[in-house]
């Protein structure tokens, strides 16, 4: 019971995750757009993969927050 009460609320977790996630997402997008400088083929592929993973993470957190609001 105690451990349940002390556990952070999902909405707070969401904020704690979203702030660093914004920095990561912005960085990956700016890299992909080559706003900071050109990427070689391998770098572009790796950034693209990282961006896809980041998008999945963003989606998962959104789902988590909406489930919590409904629940």
């Amino acid at each position: 019971m105690d451990s349940e009460q002390n556990a952070p609320r999902p909405i707070s977790v969401s904020h704690e995750l979203k702030s660093p996630l914004t920095g990561i997402q912005m960085t990956l997008h700016l890299l992909m757009e080559e706003k900071i400088g050109p990427l070689n083929e391998k770098q572009a592929m790796m950034v693209k993969q990282a961006k896809l993973d980041c998008d999945r993470l963003v989606e998962a957190i959104s789902r988590y927050v909406s489930n919590d609001k409904r629940g």
Partner: protein, 455 residues
């Protein structure tokens, strides 16, 4: 735009800054309300990004504080949580928009476009307000109407060039003596250009010291010089998107000329005491009564700047050369001032007309306007008499030689010859040198001086 990003998360502030800078805007970051408060006090920001959760501080309270001092400030908030409630609260408090985390550079770009549009609308409103104020002042002072019809061939060509060049964004150089109406023509060019609804800002180059002129043009930051107690934007900033009219550009100090050249070439400038390049897109119209080519040859004016502003140049002929237009102006002014002072003075006497025709008007339209205003007030009857108008002797007060005859105006060869000999003899030390300059021998010069009564 100049943009301040207030967020204590370095990941968010640095990447937002990069996204903003990639769109050619200027950006700075502040990681606390204290640092932000200082930068807001020191500078004017076009847009502020503000995190709602700044450590232990409440961003919404800070938003209210900003908007209390500058209600027109555009502020975009980063809400702490994805919450409609916070977005509504922020909008009610006056936030321009909000950017939900995690956002992307695309979203930032969308906000930038929206802000740019809002700023442009604000600026249009402010220009309209200025125009109304200016028009009110003009109506209060109500000067005589501007006459754009001319029968003088030089003026017809000048007007033709002006109206054709007005639509283009090219720099225009207006040449001509003082009082020939260069400022009126500059405004006419602006009003007939695509920038007509944008600001028209005048800078009078000779009216200020070098330091003050530089500050008036480009602005300054606090402490840039003695008396600079706060940051100040200059006229270049005020004219951004519109026309900057540099009156008497021939008087522009050499040290400021490279900065103006940079503004023209790269659309960039820096405020006095600051090392941050600022962007400004202004159309330059310049005017001078100087021979700028001679100033270039004398090393007083930069050649590259001269060619940059001299894309299109027009010459305003002196009034004494516009003999066909002269009486039209005189009647316009009389009509205007008789109404303004509420007097039934409607005509010039024959002698007065003669005086107007023969006077050389060294002060040009300005002198004619002032003379007729004075004559209308002082006239004893319903006619303006010759004695109400300036005599030839008054011309000396303006600093321009009296009786100066212009080649191409309605003068005889004899009058031209007399004037030329008189000016040369007055200028050189002795008659021998004058004869050499005139290409005649001393005896001929003696005869001509006797004939023209120049002894």
């Amino acid at each position: 735009m100049d943009i301040l990003i207030i967020d204590d998360d370095p990941g968010i502030s640095s990447t937002t800054r990069l996204a903003v800078e990639a769109e050619d805007h200027y950006a700075e970051t502040a990681d606390s309300t204290e640092a932000a408060r200082r930068r807001i006090r020191e500078e004017k920001w076009d847009l502020i990004f503000l995190d709602v959760r700044l450590g232990d501080e409440n961003g919404l309270e800070f938003l209210k504080e900003i908007l209390e001092k500058t209600p027109e400030q555009l502020v975009v908030i980063f809400p702490a949580f994805s919450s409609v409630e916070i977005a509504i609260k922020a909008t009610q408090a006056g936030a321009f928009d909000y950017l939900e985390k995690p956002f992307t550079p695309d979203r930032v770009r969308g906000i930038l476009l929206k802000a740019k549009k809002a700023l442009s609308t604000n600026r249009e409103l402010s220009t309209l307000k200025n125009t109304v104020t200016e028009l009110k002042t003009q109506v209060d002072r109500s000067g005589p109407p501007t006459r754009f019809e001319s029968e003088d061939p030089t003026m017809i060509a000048t007007l033709d060039t002006i109206f054709r060049a007005a639509a283009s964004p090219a720099s225009i150089l207006i040449l001509g003596e003082s009082g020939t109406g260069k400022s009126v023509i500059a405004r006419t060019i602006h009003e007939n250009s695509k920038l007509a609804d944008k600001p028209f800002v005048t800078v009078s180059c000779p009216s200020l010291s070098k330091e003050l002129l530089e500050s008036e043009l480009f602005g300054h930051v606090r402490g840039a010089f003695t008396g600079a107690v706060k940051d100040q934007w200059g006229k270049v900033h005020a004219a951004d998107g519109g026309t900057l009219f540099l009156d008497e550009i021939g008087e522009l100090p050499l040290s400021i000329q490279p900065k103006l050249l940079r503004l023209l070439q790269e659309r960039e400038y820096e405020r006095l005491g600051e090392n941050k390049p600022r962007k400004a897109n202004v159309r330059i119209i310049a005017a001078t009564n100087r021979d700028l080519k001679a100033s270039v040859a004398a090393g007083e004016f930069r050649e590259d700047l001269f060619y940059r502003i001299n894309v299109i140049s027009v010459e305003m002929p002196p009034l004494r050369a516009r003999t066909k237009d002269l009486m039209g102006f005189a009647h316009d002014y009389l009509d205007h001032f008789s109404k303004q002072v509420g007097r039934e003075v409607k005509v010039f006497s024959a002698k007065a007309l003669d005086r107007i025709r023969t006077h050389q008007w060294p002060g040009n339209l300005r002198e004619l306007r002032n003379s007729i205003e004075r004559a209308t007030i002082l006239a004893r009857g319903k006619e303006i008499e010759d004695t109400d108008l300036p005599s030839g002797g008054d011309a000396a007060q303006t600093g321009t030689p009296a009786g100066y005859v212009v080649p191409g105006s309605d003068v005889t060869l004899e009058e031209l010859e007399r004037e030329h000999i008189k000016l040369i003899v007055d200028r050189v030390k002795n008659l021998q040198d004058a004869a050499i300059l005139l290409g005649i021998d001393k005896a001929t010069l003696y005869r001509k001086r006797k004939k023209f009564d120049l002894n």
